[in-house]
């Protein structure tokens, strides 16, 4: 029989992952409901399509989790995504070997992220303004260079990296999950992950402990950019032409998924598995509605309701833990 002590420890652990748990329960509930109403939802084709559509969102959301953990925000990722997508198309068209595209796109993304990182981490400008400016700047720069034209006449081996549909699809989903798994591990096990949490929780206290908040913030934005580059490449190879207006609204999808997954918008608290659940929950609803025979116009409204519900549970949780902290302050 477990001791009282062990139960107390267990309940503390559960408390820390409360939001992740409640989001998982909501997701399980959604899947169960769809399973009863429309079992055909669980067909292999549908599930594969779902996974494939949400893989790029997941990659961006992983980066966004890091950004929000250090108590910043990045609303320029949609525009970065468009730039990277067009860059992938143009490079492929110009005959750059397919294997070289991956490092090149990581680099292009990282450079765009570094611009944000320099302005926010080093010059201490507010991230919402900086990334708002970049959102407009990248998008308009792209419109000006491409004139709104799509990139066509891509080489045959661009699509699915020349691997053939089935293999290519697996590769994309698998790569996204691998990246998620790596960052899950890294946040917990790397000293860098520890520094991310410390800076997001209290930048000044972190500085006094020898952690440089500016450097950590800079690195996080560079990673964010690189992940956007990767997401753009993995998304672009699914189509035979490359649009110049990709990634519209992507920043909102990613931020919403991160918040629903339990990351505190004020930084310092949150996990990658939570983000995965957030992406899955928000990404499944539209399709689920279609299968359940409900007008998909409801999708956005329901997504909004889920975000509000997540924040409301944050609020309830905060007032609860505030009381607990008060008790602790008095020495109990």
């Amino acid at each position: 029989m477990p001791s009282l002590w062990a139960i107390k420890q267990m309940s503390m652990r559960l408390n820390r992952y409360k939001r992740e748990l409640s989001a998982s329960l909501a997701y399980a509930g959604l899947l169960a409901a769809v399973g009863i109403i429309a079992p055909s939802f669980f067909s292999a084709t549908n599930l594969r399509d779902l996974a494939l559509n949400n893989a790029p969102v997941l990659l961006v959301a992983v980066g966004m989790t890091l950004v929000i953990l250090v108590a910043q925000i990045d609303i320029s990722v949609g525009s970065q995504f468009a730039v990277a997508t067009v860059a992938a198309g143009v490079l492929a068209q110009a005959g750059v070997p397919i294997l070289l595209l991956l490092p090149l796109l990581l680099l292009i993304g990282a450079v765009m992220g570094a611009v944000n990182g320099l302005l926010i981490g080093m010059l201490r400008l507010p991230s919402i303004i900086v990334t708002l400016a970049m959102l407009v700047a990248w998008r308009d720069a792209l419109r000006w260079t491409t004139g709104g034209e799509w990139v066509q006449n891509l080489p045959a081996n661009f699509q699915w990296f020349g691997l053939g549909q089935r293999m290519g699809q697996w590769l994309i989903v698998f790569a996204s999950l691998l990246v998620l798994a790596f960052f899950t591990w890294a946040l917990r096990n790397l000293t860098a992950g520890r520094r991310v949490y410390a800076v997001g929780s209290d930048a000044e206290a972190a500085r006094l402990a020898g952690v440089e908040p500016g450097q950590v913030t800079f690195c996080v934005f560079v990673l964010m950019g690189a992940l956007v580059g990767l997401a753009a490449l993995l998304n672009a190879v699914r189509f035979s032409t490359v649009p110049s207006n990709a990634g519209l609204g992507l920043e909102l999808k990613a931020i919403a998924a991160v918040v629903v997954g339990g990351t505190a918008i004020t930084g310092g608290r949150g996990t990658m598995p939570g983000t995965l659940i957030g992406v899955a929950l928000l990404g499944t609803i539209g399709t689920a509605l279609t299968f359940a025979g409900i007008n998909p116009f409801w999708e956005k409204a329901i997504q909004g309701a889920i975000i509000l519900a997540a924040l409301a549970s944050d609020f309830v949780w905060a007032s609860f833990s505030h009381k607990k902290a008060q008790k602790a302050q008095m020495g109990f």
Binding site: K8, D202, A209, V211, E212, M330, F332
Partner: protein, 502 residues
Amino acid sequence: MLRAINIDKSYAGVHALKQASFELQAGEVHALIGENGAGKSTLIKIITGAVTPDGGTIQLNGTAIAQNSPRVAKQLGIAAMYQQPALFPELSVAENICFALEESSLLSRVNWRERKRKAAALLARIGADIDPDVEAGELTLPQQQLVEIARALGAEAKVLILDEPTASLSQEDTQNLFAVIRQLRNEGAGIVYISHRLEELPEIADRVTVLRDGSTIDTRLMTEVNRQQLIQLMVGRELSAVFPKKAVEIGEPVLELRQLGCAASGIHDVNLIVRAGEIVGLAGLVGCGRTQLADTVFGLTPSDRGDVLLRGKPVKLSSAAQAIECGIAYVPEDRRRHGVILDLAISANITLASLDRFSSLGIVDFRREKQVSADYTRRLRIKTPAIFAPVGTLSGGNQQKVALSRWLVTNPSVLILDEPTQGIDVGAKSEVHSLMTDLAAQGVAILMISSELPEVLGMSDRIAVMCGGTIAATLDRAEATQEKILALALGHQANEHATQSL
């Protein structure tokens, strides 16, 4: 005048107050003391209506207050100054002071000139030199505390509750505050005075009530008890020595400052040596540059003149990371804000400054982290259900022990402590002091900043007194007295006779 009778309060099963009673007369200063967790804060929150009791009554002038709330208490003339400054950082000092004092409808115009005049008058009354137009967020902690006091005074309350008002005040400000308190008392106000500084109680309090574990232990006349008896009442056990200072063999100089200056933080020409095994107390009035000196030595505000020498070798310190690498550790003042990271687990807080030693190739070694954290939690007697609990769930004294553990893990050769026992209870205080003694015995050079002169006198081997951004003089333990330190801090020469006594 004010009576709290058999007050009971539980928070989710934890009994914070058990049948506690307290009585305040008009025209007295009544000290309320007890260790952290004794229930002082809960009791005053119940009096001010911020917390609703489970049982018992609060009476004012013989009539019970029904449905108490902060608003009701305010109308009845009860005002309180809480321990943690709760100012609006973006508002000016004048706005902060007058915000709660004005009773006006939503649409009435703000009389800015009147506000400023009132704020300036209140600040002048406590002798605080603070510009009412400055934003409250730009003030130092002691200045914020003075603003809080001015705000509480402005309510012109019949019952005034002061929770640790002198926790970060200099001797001078404390004396000014005492003068105001005495004046209010003579005008017939009742003052509840909460303080961990037992030595100031005989000076200001008429009676004292001791709380322990949520119960009222005793109420005595201040003239009938001494410090030792009070401590016994508070802890329920006898503390053998208040300052566990041991004779330690003093070794080679470890930290040496030569003509150190930093224009940005206003310190200049600082010469100081701290040897292995030595505790050097850094005394001085608030604003004399003690914390700024510590910040400069730790590389937070790098020096622009002079040298820092570690074991005889000059070092260039321009970031906290460099200072840590050189073996310098710094436990900063405002613990709640900067000493620990409240969201992080105890174990993660303890290893944060020495992550490199707890990782290989950047991968954290959890087994070692757990082992070391558990070890320090045990050694420093940090009270917690689990080492992965966030530090925010601990009490103040335990948070301070986590902050200390973080730096002990770095194995420092120089340890800088800024107000190491501010606002923590007598038991934890004594534990921190004996820890300092042990560290000195292990050969650590300790530089301790403290506004509590008895602590400085009790713990230091030598005392450096700062005044106007530099060290006015350094006194040996044997020759130092409170009067001499104060005289130096005020800018008198060491040999001059101290005109102001404590």
